[in-house]
């Protein structure tokens, strides 16, 4: 009971932050920053406490609260932690204080509104993860749009209006279709079983006709695919990332994009298992396209932020691949990849923000030899780069390797059943690893090494204690997931199994058209 209350406290702490920022004094920005940071830190501490109390052996909902909210429609305020969301909630809470600390000097305009918006998006993101009721989920899902719209639009770069409107219009289009599908889903649950409910647990057993499943899956999948984003629905992402302030990029890359993959895992696939099994190959194709195409685009960018933005598309392709493989290892890998990308991309965007604050340029050609000018900066940058590539001992390796391994295991089964398409896809996906190393290392080489040059090079100062603190926290987390992945993975294992069971993983291969089995 007390634990359940604690989860509510974690969820509503950002609301307290919004109230505080409304009442605070704009003329004392440091007070606003400090209190916001303290609140975020408290939130992370409580979340970490919940995380360690999370029982890996319990497949059900933990720390759950259920209150009737709109009884006429079967909507309830139902939140709780399970294997699906526990790591992502921890990630979100972990990035909270980092976002506030990372914007300490960068944000000087409308400081109160900025922190209010950071709190609001924190509230919406945590709510989306912990919601176990579709209506509640949608509420938080849409609520994320508003603070992000303002974060990019007010504190962004030159083309911020274009970028932010594009972001909202893209994501809202997916949401509208998801809303239609959601209404239809709940209504058909009522007609088939007589139960009026929005709870995920009830909806999993809706027992829809395959024809209806296809449409509903398409609507949900489109909405999630825009958020991930999967090529060709990705074009909002580079603009949003480039124009967003550092905090916006960190939130976007760190958590917001995971909403898409989490949505696929929690809702898209398990709600419509028949349609999802039919679509696994298609999802894999798009996953592989995202991996390779994202990597190729990252290779040719001249804007530092764009390189990392496109690398996000590529990295989340692995998560999609792992989810679509329906293999236990692959699913676990997908979850690890989500968390790992949340850490590395957030770190890299923070570091780009730090150099931008000093040099006011995002053009890669302006830089070179930073290793000599900013040695501490360069060490951290290199560590995060290697983690993003997936060097063993870092979190990136755990995620990418497991996701690919799972894909190969499924592909091999398919191969034995006489289907080679998956094996080819898995093979192409591996080239993405090479490409990933190529563009990141080439980027690091041009950025950190070679001839020394940077705009305003004479005034450059290395990282401050605040910046080092932020990066140390991130690097520790990266190595924790890389060296001891066992602990977090045990907590997600039962959820991965449940996901596999709901979608019918054993039949993933069987869903392929029958052919002569191979010897």
């Amino acid at each position: 009971m007390a634990d359940a209350l604690m989860l509510n406290v974690v969820l509503f702490l950002p609301v307290a932050g919004i109230v505080y920022t409304t009442l605070a004094d704009e003329r004392r920005p440091d007070a606003v920053r400090s209190v916001s940071f303290a609140l975020m830190l408290a939130q992370f501490a409580l979340t970490a406490w919940l995380y360690f109390r999370f029982d890996a052996a319990d497949p059900g909902l933990q720390f759950a609260t259920k209150l009737p909210w709109i009884p006429d429609w079967g909507v309830s305020y139902l939140i709780g932690l399970d294997g699906y969301n526990v790591l992502l909630v921890l990630l979100t809470a972990f990035l909270g204080p980092i976002v506030v600390a990372g914007s300490w000097t960068a944000i000087t305009k409308d400081v109160r509104l900025f922190h209010a918006m950071v709190f609001l998006i924190q509230f919406a993101m945590l709510g989306t993860f912990v919601a176990q009721d579709l209506f509640l989920f949608y509420l938080f899902w849409e609520l994320m749009l508003v603070p992000m719209f303002l974060l990019i639009g007010i504190w962004g770069g030159e083309r911020r209006i274009y970028a932010t409107i594009k972001f909202v219009l893209y994501t809202a289009f997916g949401s509208i279709l998801m809303l239609a599908a959601m209404i239809y889903l709940v209504w058909s649950l009522k007609t088939t079983t007589g139960v009026t409910s929005f709870a995920f647990a009830d909806l999993y057993g809706a027992g829809l006709k395959p024809s209806a499943q296809t449409w509903l899956f398409a609507a949900f999948a489109l909405s999630f695919a825009i958020k991930v984003p999967i090529v060709p629905l990705h074009t909002w992402l580079p603009d949003a990332h480039v124009e967003a302030p550092t905090a916006g990029s960190v939130i976007l890359a760190g958590v917001l994009l995971k909403m898409g993959t989490y949505g696929f895992m929690k809702l898209g696939f398990p709600l419509f298992p028949d349609a999802a099994r039919e679509a696994t190959l298609l999802v894999m194709v798009f996953g592989v396209i995202s991996i390779v195409y994202g990597a190729c685009l990252a290779l040719v960018q001249t804007d530092i932020k764009k390189i990392i933005a496109y690398s996000s598309i590529s990295h989340l392709g692995y998560a999609m691949l792992g989810l679509a493989s329906l293999d236990l290892i692959g699913i676990q890998g997908a979850v690890m990849q989500m968390v790992s990308h949340g850490l590395t991309a957030a770190g890299l965007f923070l570091m780009v923000g730090m150099i931008y604050e000093r040099c006011h340029s995002r053009n890669l050609a302006d830089y070179g030899g930073l290793a000599k000018l900013l040695p501490v900066y360069s060490v951290f940058f290199m560590v995060l780069t290697l983690a993003a590539i997936g060097l063993p001992t870092t979190s990136g390796f755990t995620g990418e390797f497991l996701a690919l391994l799972g894909t190969f295991r499924t592909a091999w089964q398919a191969h034995l059943a006489g289907h080679d398409a998956m094996l080819w896809l898995a093979g192409i996906a591996v080239t993405g690893v090479v490409l990933g190393a190529l563009y990141m290392l080439w980027f690091a080489q041009r950025f950190l090494f070679g001839a020394t040059r940077a705009p305003h090079a004479e005034h450059l100062t290395d990282l401050s204690a605040r910046e080092v603190g932020i990066l140390v926290a991130l690097v520790v987390a990266v190595f924790w997931l890389g060296l001891f992945p066992d602990e977090p993975m045990r907590k997600t294992e039962l959820a991965a199994k449940q996901y596999q069971q709901l979608v019918g993983g054993a039949r993933a291969v069987a869903a392929l058209p029958a052919t002569e089995p191979r010897r």
Binding site: P68, L143, G153, I154, A172, F173, I176
Partner: protein, 463 residues
């Protein structure tokens, strides 16, 4: 029909009438306008409370058999309409220094209450005219604008056309059924007779015109822009709410036939799309709100496609959410310079820097009108589309939702101007208008209720 029933069941109307007479007397006696204003406000609040008490106590009576009856649903409808009138009156205080505005509003509200309770076309017509005539004057009252007379005339002529159509439709229905009772409308919906169909069509068109539904919408932008802010607010919220409540009562428990589905679905659907698309390009805030209200009228009529039991609940909730949020928006509008200048969307630029409270409330209103959760506008839209889909019109619901998506852009544009643009040259740091501030607070309390406890409110409106 005894005296006690008449006194109790029409208590809100009596209070309005009493207040109206008192305000008139006070005005003639030369008392300051402040007294009249306070009295009118007290009257409307008392009438709201009376209607709310009647609604919650489940009081039902046929006051004048066959002409006027009261049920919990009608009382709830009256309570919503009267509640919306409270902030409108407060808004007017900033603009009108004499007793004209409160007088006209009280008279018009009396008509609104008649319309909501009407059981016969006679009462309905009487109520509609009592509702509309003061509004023509309200639009004219803003004579500082050059286009006010033109707007008022347009509104008058088209209002007359609506009355004509309603009369014609009612007489056709009378010819078909031999009675003036409004329930013939519901019976005529699935009648095979051409007379009945023509009657239904004309009556429906009259209401489309009154509520500004495509293709009868063209008067709205001019009238909204021509009127001053409180007059526009009155038209956008109270007139629209009354008309919709009358329509939902007319439809009663009738199920729609296929042919009727087309008539009820297509104009509102086009309204949604047309209103939202046209609103994108409006340079005037009030014109934009007019097109947005055309789209919202579309959503409201869309609710008629749902099953009969849920219609009142959906429309009443939608009206409350839409009305309150529009009023919050009107209260937040800057009124520093000339009315014509302030009406430009450009004048909102950098509003957050100048008046943070106004900017934040206006942003909340825009997001709610756009249907972004968790604001009440979302629950209202959700309710409408849920009912439409449950009635089996999946394709129509999807089209309507996509239409609502189109509206997102221009609502966001307002927020963009307020938060992301620098203030225009010479825009001062305006002082907050006391009455507008109070009006927005009065709206935000029920808005908070609708946001946090929508389930409770929906339970109250179950009808």
């Amino acid at each position: 029909m005894n005296v006690q029933t008449i006194v109790v069941s029409m208590l809100p109307e009596h209070l309005l009438l009493g207040g109206l007479c008192l305000v008139l007397v006070l005005d003639i006696a030369g008392r300051p306008a402040r007294t009249s204003f306070a009295l009118a406000l007290a009257t409307v609040i008392a009438a709201t409370v009376a209607a709310a008490v009647l609604a919650t106590s489940g009081y039902a009576a046929a006051t004048f058999l066959g002409h006027l009856s009261v049920s919990p649903a009608t009382s709830a409808g009256k309570a919503i309409v009267l509640l919306l009138a409270v902030p409108v009156l407060m808004l007017s205080r900033d603009e009108f220094r004499d007793a004209q505005f409160p007088l006209l509003v009280l008279a018009s509200l009396y008509g609104a209450c008649l319309v909501i309770s009407a059981d016969s076309f006679l009462t309905l017509l009487l109520g509609l005219e009592t509702l509309s005539l003061p509004v023509y004057v309200l639009v004219l009252l803003a004579m500082q604008r050059e286009d006010s007379p033109e707007a008022a005339l347009k509104y008058l002529v088209l209002g007359g056309a609506a009355t004509g159509m309603l009369l014609m439709g009612a007489s056709l229905l009378f010819g078909w059924s031999g009675t003036l009772a409004t329930e013939t409308f519901a019976r005529a919906l699935d009648a095979p007779s051409a007379l009945a169909r023509a009657g239904v069509g004309l009556v429906l068109c009259a209401f489309f015109l009154k509520a500004a539904v495509f293709p009868f919408h063209a008067w709205a932008p001019d009238a909204y822009q021509g009127g001053s802010v409180p007059a526009t607010a009155y038209m956008a919220t109270i007139v629209k709410a009354t008309v919709l409540l009358a329509v939902v009562r007319l439809f009663g428990s009738a199920q729609l036939t296929v042919a009727m589905t087309a008539l009820v679905a297509v104009p509102p659907l086009v309204s949604i799309v047309w209103g939202n698309v046209t609103a994108m390009r409006q340079p005037s805030f009030r014109r934009m709100i007019a097109y947005s209200s055309i789209a919202h009228a579309g959503f409201l009529f869309f609710a008629l496609l749902g099953a009969a039991e849920g219609r009142f609940q959906a429309i009443a909730f939608y009206l409350a959410a839409y009305g309150l949020m529009s009023l919050v928006a009107f209260a937040a509008l800057p009124r520093d310079g000339e009315d014509v200048v302030d009406d430009r969307i450009d004048s909102l630029k950098g509003l957050f820097q100048r008046r943070p409270y106004a900017a934040v409330t206006l942003a909340i209103a825009m997001l709610s009108l756009a249907g972004i959760p968790p604001l009440p506008g979302f629950v209202a839209k959700f309710l409408v589309f849920r009912n439409v889909m449950a009635a089996g019109h999946t394709e129509l619901a999807v089209l309507g939702l996509v239409g609502s998506y189109l509206g997102l852009y221009f609502y966001l544009r307002v927020i963009q101007y307020m938060f992301m643009s620098a203030p225009a040259e010479g825009a001062g740091r305006a002082t907050l208008r006391r009455h507008a501030f109070a009006a927005s607070l009065v709206c935000l309390v029920p808005v908070a209720l609708l946001t946090v406890f929508p389930g409770w409110v929906l339970g109250m409106l179950r009808g």
